[in-house]
Amino acid sequence: MPSTLAPLLVLIMDYNFHWRPVWRALPDLLDAALITLEVALLSMVIGIVIGMVLAIMRLYGNIAMRGFASVWIEAARNTPALLQFFFFGFGLGAFDLHLSPYMIVLVGLSFNNAGYLAENFRGGFQAIPVTQFNAARCLGMTSSQAFIRIVIPQVFKLVYHPMTNQMVWAVLISSLGMLVGFRELAGETQFMASNTFRLFEFFLAAAVIYYLIVKIILLVFYLISRRLFNY
């Protein structure tokens, strides 16, 4: 391993790494990382609520509801997230709607999350046998009681893992905020990097922070699942 790396190291020797600007900027980067986390989490909450509604519309709605849900879901899943961000960023300008950078990222992420989660929820609903619902009805529960108390908790267990992945995905694509002028972790990194001209150092630092954020999210979601699903 060292022998193969040696020529590489010689090459790198010519480049003078400057880590001090990165260290100095670290508090700002970590603050930006918190913004990343915040917007990702918020977009997940919104995405879960809307995604659930879209799934129910697509499964049980009338033609108009099914159509609306399908267009949303297909658009979210089949176009690049960045295109969606641009759409909310300046596409809506055609209707005189101008969102702030923060809102572009939040709306874009929520739109994307809702589309992906809706399909997960749909699969979850289809996997719960209808007899569970009937059994609840036979105990005198109304259909909404049966749905909320019996069906949805089971769906949540089924989609928990895909939901975790979606949370990670939300953190990763929130980095597109950089391209719409939002100073989350990637945007802040870009700003600092171009101010100091230490591009490589700053992007490496950002990569490390993103990696840690993802690992922490996976750990936290795992711990929550241990508490939540004891069956």
């Binding site: 590489l8 090459l11 790198i12 010519d14 480049y15 297909e74 658009a75 089949n78 176009t79 690049p80 997230a81 960045l82 295109l83 641009f86 759409f87 300046f90 596409g91 809506l92 300008g93 055609a94 209707f95 990670v168 953190v171 990763l172 694509i173 980095s175 597109l176 950089m178 391209l179 990637a186 990194t189 870009q190 591009l199 490589f200 992007f203 490496l204 950002a206 990569a207 993103y210 990696y211 993802v214 690992k215």
Partner: protein, 223 residues
């Protein structure tokens, strides 16, 4: 007056030639995606096989590949684009984009491929060994075909994802579909219609992949 005229010339509305421009850019998106998906899939399958072979490889190679899945692609692109000059190989945006997308794809495919190998039941593998197949014959005639069928939908998901993620190579300045749309939007000031057309282009590119894999999946289910 002349200033206004210049403005009018600068901001012209969307024309038929712009559609051609977008189509060419879509060709670039397709090109970079096809290269990344094909080479990345081969590489990823090898990685996936390596992951399934030994615990040590699974841990070491696995942790490296994991980085590609845990860091935003846009950061990976900018990082490597700025890294290549440091080691004395400055790459143009297309080359840098291709290299990063290949590794990104291979990291995603590796996970899929490993799942495919693990999806082949042990009993089936023991049965093929007891027929006198060598390890490589077993891999070639049993594990690969059976595993491929099991994970085809996941692989299609990765391929579609890479097609969409290739839009990020635009940050390096490579003119693919999304970059082209930005250039046109700046000129025409008609973001809504252009973004809608670009969305349709992406849909047109991904729809065939989704359809073909759907059909393959159905056909394979019945034999």
């Amino acid at each position: 007056m002349s200033e206004a005229a210049a403005q009018i010339q600068f901001f012209t509305s969307f024309q038929a030639s712009d559609l051609k421009y977008l189509a060419e850019a879509a060709g670039n998106t397709l090109l970079i995606s096809v290269i990344a998906i094909s080479i990345g899939s081969v590489l990823g399958t090898l990685f996936g096989w390596a992951l399934s072979v030994s615990k040590l490889v699974a841990f070491s190679l696995g942790s490296i590949l994991d980085v590609f899945r845990s860091v935003p692609l846009i950061i990976q692109l900018l990082l490597f684009y700025n890294f290549f000059p440091i080691i004395g190989f400055p790459l143009d945006p297309f080359e840098a984009g291709v290299v990063v997308l290949i590794f990104y794809t291979s990291a995603l495919v590796a996970q899929v491929a490993r799942g495919g190998i693990e999806a082949v039941p042990d009993s089936l593998r023991r049965a093929s060994r007891s027929l006198g197949m060598t390890y490589w014959q077993e891999m070639r005639y049993v594990v690969f075909p059976v595993g491929t069928r099991a994970v085809l939908p996941s692989w299609a998901g990765v391929a579609l994802g890479v097609l969409k993620d290739s839009a990020l190579v635009s940050v390096l300045g490579y003119v693919e579909l999304l970059r082209a749309s930005q250039i046109l939007i700046t000129r025409t000031q008609e973001p809504f219609i252009i973004l809608a057309i670009v969305g349709a282009f992406y849909f047109a590119l991904s729809y065939p992949i989704a359809k073909v894999t759907d059909r393959l999946e159905k056909r394979w289910q019945y034999d």
